[in-house]
Subunit: 368 residues, 4 copies
């Protein structure tokens, strides 16, 4: 019987609904809140987690850690976060919360997650370390040995639209990458229903700059990005094996895609334009229906009407994914375009969606 400990008004509710005597028994609704910790809270995804969780009515943030800012209030690093939370240095032994978000760089996450897992925590890991089920693929693309191979079997890929039931019971959820989220949501209905040629898939993605993180680099130096536009890691981006793994599961056969990401001068947002050849000709009307059916129950995926295509500004600062599609009749090719916020559905708010599912909160809690 979860009762919503609404921020700000909790005392008012308590007073209104319970007689004074009951106050002794239920002195503080906050006690009922789930205590969570965030490992790596001062990167862009970590800070976005803090922002979302501060507003989440079922959750209390207990501990946040940061290597670079240990000892500082996070509000000194991100003044818009109105909280007194102080960054700790990471000491897995001392983290009491039962639910943990890890927002560490790839490679650095696996040992921390392993340690926390052994200590019985439930974890959403925002790194890539537990997304690829095959450690050899991980090692090939990420260039480091995987030290927690046995944990890979426990990890559930945290895309709720595909794996909601598994996520419910999971103790370790590997939160998807931003590009994979945008691409897989475009292609899932098409592959599940065997509508497209598996070898014809092209994903052309465009991302805002927060996707590259807070680490300094000439590539993200303002005068180098502003008034510029470029492709990068053309055909060799690390999100390729992640997308292919998930598409293969949907298609029940190997799928190899062509993927080109682009850097565009805005802060937040990904737009992915996906192209694939249809096996049989399908009218746009019917294809739109396929997508609508596939995502009918999904609170965060919206299929736009025929002729409409999504814009990044309509999904920024949200957990939404909008999808528009069309058929290029001449070539029997389908074009599917999705937009997400790379820090939202592409990272932190999707992590919270996963937590909501794992903890049996209403799935949209704190996310709308």
């Amino acid at each position: 019987m979860p009762i919503e400990p609404s921020r700000g008004h909790s005392e008012g509710i308590g007073e209104a609904l319970f007689p004074p005597s009951s106050v002794l028994r239920i002195p503080n609704l906050k006690r009922w809140g789930l205590k969570v910790s965030i490992i790596g809270a001062t990167g862009y995804t970590g800070a976005e987690l803090v922002k979302i969780l501060l507003r989440h009515p079922e959750v209390e943030i207990e501990t946040i850690t940061s290597q670079s800012f240990a000892g500082k209030k996070i509000s000194e690093v991100y003044p818009r976060l109105s909280t007194g939370l102080v960054c700790q240095s990471l000491d897995a032994e001392r983290i009491a919360s039962s639910f943990i978000f890890t927002a560490l760089p790839h490679g650095a996450s696996m040992e921390v997650v392993g340690n926390l897992y052994l200590r019985g925590k439930r974890i959403v890991d925002l790194s890539a370390d537990f997304r690829l089920t095959n450690p050899l693929v991980y090692e090939k693309w990420y260039g480091v040995a995987h030290k927690k191979k046995n944990l890979l079997k426990q990890a559930v890929y945290g895309l709720p639209e595909l794996y909601r039931e598994k996520i419910k019971g999971a103790r370790l959820v590997a939160n998807p990458g931003c590009y994979p989220t945008s691409a897989i949501l475009c292609l899932a209905p098409l592959l599940r229903y065997n509508l497209i040629k598996e070898d014809s898939i092209i994903v052309d993605s465009k991302s805002g700059v927060t996707g590259a993180g807070r680490k300094l680099s000439l590539k993200t130096h303002f005068p180098e990005v502003n008034e510029n536009l470029s492709a990068y890691q053309v055909g060799c981006h690390r999100h390729i094996p992640e997308i292919e793994q998930e598409l293969a599961k949907l298609a029940q056969k190997e799928v190899k895609i062509t993927f080109v990401p682009h850097l565009v001068p805005l802060n937040r947002g990904i737009l992915s334009t996906c192209y694939a050849d249809l096996k049989d000709f399908l009218k746009l009307k019917d294809l739109v229906e396929v997508f609508e059916d596939f995502y009918r129950e999904e609170p965060f995926v919206e299929i736009l009407p025929q002729g409409c295509f999504p814009q990044v500004k309509d999904v920024v600062n949200s957990n939404r994914c909008q999808i528009g599609l069309t058929v290029d009749g001449k070539r029997r090719r389908v074009i599917v375009i999705s937009t997400i916020d790379n820090l939202g559905k592409g990272a932190s708010s999707q992590a919270v969606q996963n937590m909501n599912i794992m903890c049996e909160f209403e799935e949209t809690t704190g996310l709308s």
Copy 2:
């Protein structure tokens, strides 16, 4: 024997190199300057033409016209243009120059061009009105009847890399669209040498906002574009038939492409990412050589070394096109990426390149 009347110092050169007597025969190098007019000088492409031609050592701008600003100095509309030129209202009868640039909207250009052509002018038309050789295709995509069908046969498509010889003798050059320039330069070597499957071509283009012109629209209102990213006219943009016409000539068979343009928040620049399936497997090294050979003599097309891809900022404010490519071996697919300035090689500086060729000036004059 063209002599360069270098801006600023031309008299000095004359004095220094020729004895006084020769002055009679070559009295003033300026007199030799080609007089040109610009019809529609206050749109973005028109103003860019003025900017380039003011610096062009062989040319003198005689007349500029503008419907919206007739009677005003163009420096009142574009203060960075340091010239006393005053916008005239358009009166084709009164335009004395023998060489004319028309930078009018599609549909509005054909009659003006027809009139000027009859009066013996040489013309570079920056509208779409003379780009499509088949008037039925024009009418289908632009929704207006073509009133100068007979002139279509005279018009040469002004992409120097493909039609330099024809441009030399042309009286009417149809200056290519911005997206077509970026796409055709990517695909020409592949189709000319029969290397790709003609039905596999996808062009995913990203453009800065000046490409939409100076006309007001909610879509180009600052807060609607900034921090946003969107596709538009998905699979139905008017540049499709133009690209397909030129690719068909290269392939010597019909070619149908999939084309999706995107609007990105920067002022100038187009990046086009082109995908196509190779007929036979080719090593990247060999493909790069094909491109290098194809464009070896071209002063404005630069093939980047293997592993390098172009950025918009390196071509903005220039007539350059940079091209990088790679092969996605898994799928035997080639990816070719080009960058141009949509107002440069995509419009006004290419128009000047065409003029240089038509008038037998050194092709790079005023453009480097």
Copy 3:
């Protein structure tokens, strides 16, 4: 006894806390919410009001009107607004809500407000029509006759930090302009305590482009604003008399300021840099204390520590105002810098703050 009709979970709470029988009597918690209407809901400030009020736990939006989009869902105009609300054409007779926000252009608002006021509504007017108490000043600066002069006496200037008590009992609140909010909050402590020379005040403000509204103009056309920076209405902006009126009340004597607004290429945010000469020398430490004392109880005004100055990104999408200050000892001059979101504390969220006060809701409800 306000009970929070929390969005999303209201039914759950109802079920949990009340026996089934009570459901008949309190069938829908929504009924308890304050019903409000928004006149002019599709401009930027109107849409921001809709966004904030959709999340406000005490409020239900009943009617929204729009001249341009009557008959359309507002989610068609602003897809990020997840609501089925349909824009009505304005018919003051048919607006049932007891509380109304008017977000109409200056000049157009006064008659609508007059009509609604007569019909007993409580109103927050976001236009300038009721901000200036002297109708002659209004007419001079806005160039139109004031048709509701008698109502001017009823209107309370809606800056809660100065007029909270009056706002409580007000039936008509004139919501302050964006620049005035940012400037007055900087200067109020200094004038109230008689610390600065009244004739020395300079306000140099920089604003994002949404401040200019959604109406198309070449000045807000993307390529004209992006990579640009300019001052406008130098020394003659309409917010001058509004700022001077409020500063005069604080100083209890006439105050004339110099005010220069600037347009900068970002969507949201105002940064105002205010300069004034101190009457007597004061240490920075003491001045900071003056500001801290003045705003100690204010939930939305934050005085930064010595040596810190505010950034727009820390207040965007909030009702916060951050203030940093320093003393230029050489010249005995104080520099006070404030940041607000022009659509937040500068318009719509401040309007909601005013509603909260007028309706005796917790002042921060729906705003944190």
Copy 4:
């Protein structure tokens, strides 16, 4: 008798105009060009110098140095620079050119300049090391000892509008800072003619991000600058003593100013809004005339007509400074607004203007 060694076409001209025999006497027009070197060519100001000098008809770049990119072609660092020039590591002994631009960080420049000066070179130094005539002031504001104090007397402050005659004969020119250039040009006529109170001057400047250089910093990380706006080094920026030194010379008495710089999200451009109290009331018309007279002969300073104010986009990529002004009659205060390109008139193109003067080239050569 300077003859223009036109870029690209010099051989062609030679061939055309001279018989083979004359080639012995004038074998290569390039030989006549001034050979220059650029120390520190890969920062933003250094690269801008390369860009401008490559187009300069009187100059040949002989040597460029770069600590970070020694051994690399500068076209690898800045692909838009079409030149084969290779960066050298700095070895002052080996620099043969008689004319040198030093574009090193403050503190690092003085020894290099000292060394080059001893070896008889003529130098334009773009650092701050030789701008302040009083070494104690330098040491106070820059925090390092000045090691070439005796050279300070030789250095001429390179603002041609004030010191053209001295620059002509100078061997060492200290190129002004970007903010000082924009501020001094606004205030010079007012102080020279004793029109304003010296203790009333406020300079509120707004700068694009290239002003902060190419060095990485969180403050110039794209997501931190974009959609943001902030003041920095409020009242304590290092350009203050430089501005005050020059204003004092104009006023012939000590001048202390208040100066606040702001960082705005664009690449290039500075807009400075200057405020000062008039000693006696002056009509705007008369003040504009004062400015027009003061700058009448200046090729790069443009006084806008009454009611017009400059925009950054009209001066970007140029050596121009535009100035607009007004009088705030209520307060007898003058407001003067200037715009420059911080990498243009604020740095590199002004350095070239200084070179033109020093070498008795036409002052505008290569700059229009």
